[in-house]
Amino acid sequence: MGALKVMFNQKNFLVIVSAFSLAVTVMFTSCSKKNTLDPTNTFYTSSIAKIKGLDPAFADDLYSGIETTRIYEGLLEYEYLKRPYALRPALAEAMPVISKDGKTYTFKIKKGVLFQDDKAFKTTNGKGRELVAEDFAYSFKRLADPKLNSPMWWLLDGKIEGLNEWRESAQKAGKADYSAKVSGLKVADAATLEIKLKARSYQFIYSLAMPAMTAVAREVVEEYGPEFLNHPVGTGAFKLAEYNPSSQIVYVRNPTHRPDFYPTEGEASDQSAGLTGDAGKQVPFVDKIVMTVHVESQPLWLNFMQGKLDAAGIPKDNFAQAITTTKELTPELKNRGIQLIKEASLDVTHTSFNMTDSVVGKNKFLRQAISMAINFPEEIELFYNGRAISAQGPIPPGLAGYDEKTKNAYKEGNIEKAKALLSKAGFPDGKGLPTLDYLALSDSTARQMTEYLQKSLAAIGIQLKVQTFSWPEFQQSLKNKKGQMWSYAWSADYPDAENFLQLFYSKNAAPGPNDSNYSNPEFDRLYEKSLTQNDSAERTALYKKMSEMVMEDTPWVFGVHRVTYCLSHPWLKNYKPHEFNHGMSKYYKIDTSLRK
């Protein structure tokens, strides 16, 4: 009670509070042992989304794809340095032998490739067994298993001979019979896999380099059952060490990884960028990968700036801290040896019109007027910090069919021309045009972009009624063909313009990926024709023709192709951003002497 008596004096109380605050400050200032950089050969990276598990059959988003392919490998993989993007063998001995009719792909599997050790391999006492062709047949069947409901089934749906029938019998039986043969997945011997397609497809080969098509071992899947997604066992360069998919995943080097080498071919600029010094050397270079989830941009940015992350993108709110008005690194970052790498993304943002709607879907001039009213250079500065290219059509730069000389006649941001088109549509100054229903997401960026669109269209007399939704409700509206307009984006699944043009194919209308429900028999005819053609000048011409058709019909207001700005610390070597970042971390190298 004596101490309390002292406190109950006003002067003493103030002195005690001040002394306590000072002591707390001194105590915390001295406790900063974690604020030193790790001197070990570890690559520190991050994800801006939580990871949904490490089962390849469910790796349908960018982030799960990156994480699963640190552990799992497929028949093919992307070349790391080459652009345009190209494929090369991974677990296949060589690129496949393709039959003359283009339907049969024969792969020889690399010999001596081992799965990572796991207790599921009972016959080898927990030692990883050798990969065989049957593992791929099993892994592909998993995507077709109706009980599994893989979101990646679209890769194989209707493509492989006998696989849909296998799925149907599994549905009828209530359980998949993995020992039942599928005529299109023939295992001639332990090292030979023959994939027979129902029809020739020049895009199919890309699916063989996607995370969902990597090899899993049946024993492991059966050992862990529904928990398989938390027990990944692959053939890749890294294996799992610590696992919390919502916060941090740690991988360590897989000691039984196959002979795997740094590429010897790349772009002309790779040499000057210091990316070719390790050509032909065995990978991986790092001993450990620590991947931390940073959903919020501030901790991601501050951790990068403190050297706790080796590479990072630049959050929108921190752009001015990193990049000058001339789009170069600020002197502060340059002096720290930080590198800036700009890489055009294979994507397109767009505002879709619901083509089944009786107002916007039936009036081409109205859609063109809306497209004409938007000032894209201003939008790019406002919402992308200048990190985007105005999209003229659906095909992004870097793919056959993109032509930088092509200009969309309805993307000038010209109010007078927009008004003229609106008059042509039968709504001079917007008179007689009902308020249009615009569906938007409820996050802050979407709200700001919606306000900008509202303002742009109000300038020509078009009013928008905005309905904001959560992501599930937004999806539901689109899949049920509700609403008149909404904004969306598409990122490439594989480096072929077909992946963008299929978004206008009438058979892909909602609930499929053709969210605008565009339907044009001539476009469909050209699209189907393009599917039968190899990468050639003729196919590129078809792509351009289809692109021009949708530019004229304007089922979308074509938005932008985003440009990614990546930053890396000087100790991170061999770092080159890749649109299909599947298993690429095996090429990264840490110069520990520089990480101080």
Binding site: G53, M152, S247, Q248, T292, N303, F474
Partner: protein, 311 residues
């Protein structure tokens, strides 16, 4: 006491049923279709139908609701639609990190707030009281995000006093990462709590028994700590005990910014993903926690106030 507990537990059954019904109705009106979230961007009508059949989403609503009730009664939470993780594991794995942050932060905040509340009510009308009230109002006016952004930037990044973010499962290693969020929690909550406790205590200082105690010649600390504090316990207990069970649910903003793998975002993520199994499990857990919190509050009332009898 036994009769009281049985009566309260039985009384909670209709509450849990009501919560389940409201969650189910709301989910089916505004929740979005889980099948569309699961099918991915290359959806086909056939795949959507397959998923609906597989998860029983094609069944009549009353059948779905019956399954819902069965699942919560049997504590069979199942797996998340979005992450396919076992929901009981998601909850159990998240409780530790959430409580590691919220429980000490809440305890420290409460102790400091009660002491400050007592002191400022003692100094009522003086400079300390006025400064404290102004600081409390300022503290309450700053949004939680402001504290987090400021604290993370200046204290962790600029001054390097704390790690920017992260979590260590080892004990007590985790506290190195939790000190900054705890300090920010304290700053965020102390303003509201001190004002609340000050008001509760000031009401007591005007009571006759305080005048009597002073007239008896008791010292001020004794008057405040022995009499005022004891008689202010009912509102304090109401505020404290009701909040304790909810601490298990963590804090969305703190956990998201500081990379703490707790339960803070589990419900919000589930709402974003139309993840009905997680939504219903968390609604059930929250109902249980609230009911539990209310029962404990009533019991503590009886302990601190002899006038309260549990029947």
């Amino acid at each position: 006491m036994g009769t009281f507990l049985v009566r309260r537990i039985l009384g909670s059954i209709p509450i849990i049923f009501g919560v389940a019904l409201v969650v189910f109705i709301l989910f089916n009106i505004v929740g979005g279709d889980p099948a569309l979230m699961m099918v991915g961007k290359h959806a086909t009508a056939q795949q959507i139908a397959d998923i609906r059949r597989e998860y029983g989403l094609d069944q009549p609503l009353y059948v779905q609701f019956f399954h819902y009730l069965k699942d919560i009664i049997t504590f069979d939470f199942g797996r998340s639609y979005a992450t396919r993780q076992k929901i009981s594991d998601m909850i159990l794995n998240g409780i530790g990190p959430s409580l590691s942050l919220t429980l000490p932060a809440f305890f420290i905040t409460t102790v400091i707030s009660v002491i400050l509340g007592l002191l400022v009510s003692y100094f009522r009308g003086g400079i300390i009281d006025r400064v404290a009230v102004i600081l409390c109002v300022i503290g309450m006016s700053i949004p939680s995000l402001g504290y987090i952004l400021f604290g993370q930037y200046y204290l962790a990044y600029e001054l390097r006093m704390f790690p920017i973010s992260g979590y260590d499962y080892s004990f007590p290693g985790r506290f190195e990462y939790l000190v900054l969020p705890m300090i920010l929690w304290l700053l965020l909550s102390v303003g509201y709590d001190v004002r609340f406790y000050r008001t509760a205590m000031l009401e007591e200082t005007t009571q006759d028994y305080v005048r009597t105690a002073r007239a008896k010649g008791l010292s001020e600390p004794r008057v405040f700590f022995k009499h005022v504090l004891k008689n202010s316990m009912v509102p304090i207990v109401t505020n404290v005990v009701l909040e304790i069970p909810l601490l298990i649910l963590g804090s969305f903003l703190f956990e998201t910014f500081f990379g703490i793998p707790g339960l803070g975002s589990i419900t919000i993520d589930a709402l974003h993903n139309s993840d009905l199994p997680v939504i219903k499990s968390m609604a059930f857990v929250m109902s249980l926690l609230l009911i539990f919190g209310n029962i404990i509050t009533d019991i503590v009332y009886a302990l601190v106030d002899p006038r309260v009898k549990l029947k």
